[in-house]
């Protein structure tokens, strides 16, 4: 796993645009650092050998299917889960033995977890109260936090009087008002309805940027991960598949799992038939495609060509490698359409192409094309060839 070792060794300046990523700050302490974490529940190993370092002020997402260990890792930072091996450092301080209430982290839950018997004010003030902040100061900072989440004046309300989105914003205010070292967000958008989710996504990102707080976000939703993160950690079955910027993990998936989990890329299995400059791959259905490879490959080796559906052009516009197949299904999306195209009954491809002229209907034969450099090659173990 090439990306993993690199990323875990040092905080690479991959998070372009994130606050605090200027090169001269490279020597700075990572906000959170995991060193070879193992977490086991009895015999079940939830997380294996997890290493990651997160730079200050960045927004890092742990992305993966349910049960991949992402929430477990988040809870281990908070101290809600004990690690069985390794070290967790927050701002350079080892916290394995620090109880949760002394860790100074902000936690936002999927289910909001606002105290139902306390007013909005008391909810938001809770963390300040336990930090012995004087009363007038508490009032001022609570007001500030409520302004930030755009719910000023809601101090006296009870959580039950607020909508789901409002409750989650109060929960966010409660988690950031005492300026924690890290903000942990455990699928905070999953319980909201679709419209609210999009709004909150923008809001959370805005607040994170404005406060410059280090945020760790857990989700199974690739759209959330891609749109919000400085860096994405793709996880599967307790270990890391890839760490990178949203563009990196999307455009250059390190493994077959990443390619499939993020956006269901087309995976065309084939055999290398010729290797000179460009690689010629003979697909299972018999066609030959040409792709660029970072290094020469021995003819006969098995590879998988990964092509995103958006990288495919359809019909007269098809360029580069041209394949022709039969359209099995068409989904009209307005500006574009998703075609499912079958090649000789052995391979099928999904193409997401803009509509120019007319929509191709089921049963028609069309040409599909993709650029030799518009794809990624995986070896027979599902690892990207680099």
């Amino acid at each position: 796993m090439p990306d993993r070792s690199q990323a875990s060794l040092s905080p690479r300046p991959v998070s372009a645009g994130a606050p605090g990523t200027a090169p001269n700050m490279d020597a700075e302490q990572p906000a959170v650092e995991f060193r070879d974490i193992d977490i086991a529940y009895g015999k079940f190993v939830a997380v294996r050998d997890f290493s990651l370092s997160i730079r200050k002020g960045s927004f890092v997402t742990l992305l993966g299917p349910s049960g991949c260990g992402k929430t477990t890792i988040l809870r281990s930072i908070a101290g809600l889960v004990d690690i069985s091996g390794g070290q967790i450092m927050i701002d350079g301080r080892r916290v394995d033995d620090v109880p949760i209430y002394k860790r100074n982290i902000g936690l936002v839950f999927q289910s909001y977890a606002l105290f139902p018997h306390k007013s909005v004010f008391d909810n938001v003030a809770f963390g300040l109260k336990y930090r012995n902040v004087p009363k007038p100061e508490i009032a001022r900072r609570v007001g500030q936090a409520l302004d930030m989440v755009r719910l000023p004046g809601s101090e006296k309300k009870l959580p039950s009087q607020l909508s789901g989105g409002q409750q989650q914003r109060i929960a966010l205010a409660r988690a950031i008002v005492f300026e924690p070292q890290v903000l942990l967000l455990d699928e905070p958008l999953s319980a909201l309805d679709a419209n609210m989710r999009e709004e909150m996504r923008v809001e959370i990102k805005k607040i994170q940027k404005a406060t410059g707080i280090t945020a760790i976000f857990v989700t199974h939703d690739q759209e959330e991960a891609l749109s919000m993160s400085d860096r994405i950690v793709v996880m599967n079955a307790g270990s890391v598949e890839q760490i990178g910027t949203p563009e990196e993990v999307y455009e250059r998936p390190a493994t077959a799992f990443v390619a499939d989990f993020l956006g269901k890329a087309n995976m065309l299995a084939g055999t290398v038939s010729r290797s000179d400059g460009q690689i010629a791959v003979t697909l299972a259905a018999g066609q030959t495609v040409h792709v660029t490879s970072p290094r020469p490959l021995a003819p006969g080796s098995k590879v998988t060509v990964v092509v995103r559906s958006q990288k495919l052009s359809v019909g007269p516009a098809a360029g580069g490698n041209r394949l022709s197949g039969r359209v099995v299904s068409t989904s009209y999306l307005g500006g574009s359409a998703i075609y499912e195209i079958d090649f000789g009954g052995k391979t099928s491809i999904r193409a997401n192409a803009p509509i120019n002229g007319r929509i191709v209907r089921e049963g028609e034969i069309i040409e599909v094309g993709f650029d030799p450099s518009g794809c990624v090659l995986l070896d027979e173990n599902g690892q990207r060839i680099s």
Binding site: Y101, F109, A113, F115, F126, Y130, L158, Q161, Q166, F178
Partner: protein
């Protein structure tokens, strides 16, 4: 024709249902009503017919030092039992719900067990135990016995509520900097309050009403209300007993009722604390 007939059948079915319901209620409440009504009877025999209205039996009760002593004893025992049992119940259910440990399932069943054992057996059992360790029968023993009787019910009540309090509330409090104790006191306990109040009221009534076990456990010369009634009955069915019974009913029904009403108005008040604005 047909619809009319069906209508009539329906009417008869309703009348029958109403009649049966009425009978059931009369059956349930007639003894209580008889006690209450007869306590105001002027006759010196504790039964029907009524010969006139009088409060004399209540007056006599007030003058009866033995009865007053028994009432005070019962009240104190019930109060102490309620307080101790509730504390035990809250702590026990917190442990049983929030922590995982080997034998948890067995322990949670064991806690309920005394409720299933016949009271007389428990009564004799505790007595035998006390004899075995050569301790005198004291008021403390009586209180301990009542706690033993009430704990299972209180644990059942608080446990049911505790299961409903999601752990994220406590986790949120901890993450905000509250120690385990503070998060229990500020978050868990307030959310548990309805069960605490219900448990305390139940424990109070269990203790206040208890007869058979108390007969075994009470120290010599000490009477609780139920044992006092029993010993009075040995002499005669005096109308005074009806008056005493009415007082008992008032206490054991009234206290939970007041508690319930108080609880409700308290939560209402809290909700009314802020004018309701529609959530957008």
């Amino acid at each position: 024709m047909k619809p009319a007939r069906r209508k009539q059948e329906g009417r008869w079915a309703w009348r029958l249902t109403g009649f049966v319901t009425l009978c059931v209620y009369i059956f349930m409440f007639a003894p209580i009503a008889a006690t209450v009504i007869l306590s105001f009877n002027a006759s010196m025999f504790g039964g029907f017919p009524m010969t006139g209205f009088s409060l004399q039996w209540y007056g006599k009760l007030m003058a009866n030092e033995a009865v007053l002593a028994a009432f005070r004893t019962s009240l104190w025992i019930a109060l102490v039992t309620a307080a101790a049992t509730t504390a035990i119940g809250v702590v026990t259910s917190f442990a049983l719900v929030r922590f995982d440990f080997p034998g948890k399932q067995a322990l949670s069943t064991l806690v309920i067990l005394p409720a299933l054992v016949p009271e007389t057996i428990l009564g004799v059992g505790l007595l035998v135990l006390i004899k075995a360790v050569d301790q005198p029968r004291t008021l403390l023993l009586l209180v301990l016995g009542h706690i033993l009787l009430a704990v299972p019910y209180v644990v059942l009540i608080t446990q049911a509520r505790m299961v409903g309090i999601r752990r994220v509330y406590e986790e949120a409090a901890l993450s905000l900097g509250a120690s385990r104790f503070s998060s229990f006191r500020e978050i868990t306990l307030p959310l548990l309050i309805p069960a605490v109040v219900a448990g305390a009221l139940l424990a109070f009534t269990i203790s206040f009403d208890n007869t058979s076990a108390s007969l075994f456990w009470r120290p010599a010369g000490v009477e609780t209300m139920p044992t006092q009634i029993l010993s009075m009955l040995k002499i005669s069915i005096s109308p005074e007993i009806n008056a005493l019974g009415t007082v008992m009913i008032l206490v054991t029904v009234g206290i939970p009722l007041i508690g319930g009403v108080l609880m409700q108005s308290l939560t209402k008040l809290r909700r009314r604390g802020e004018p309701k604005e529609e959530a957008k």
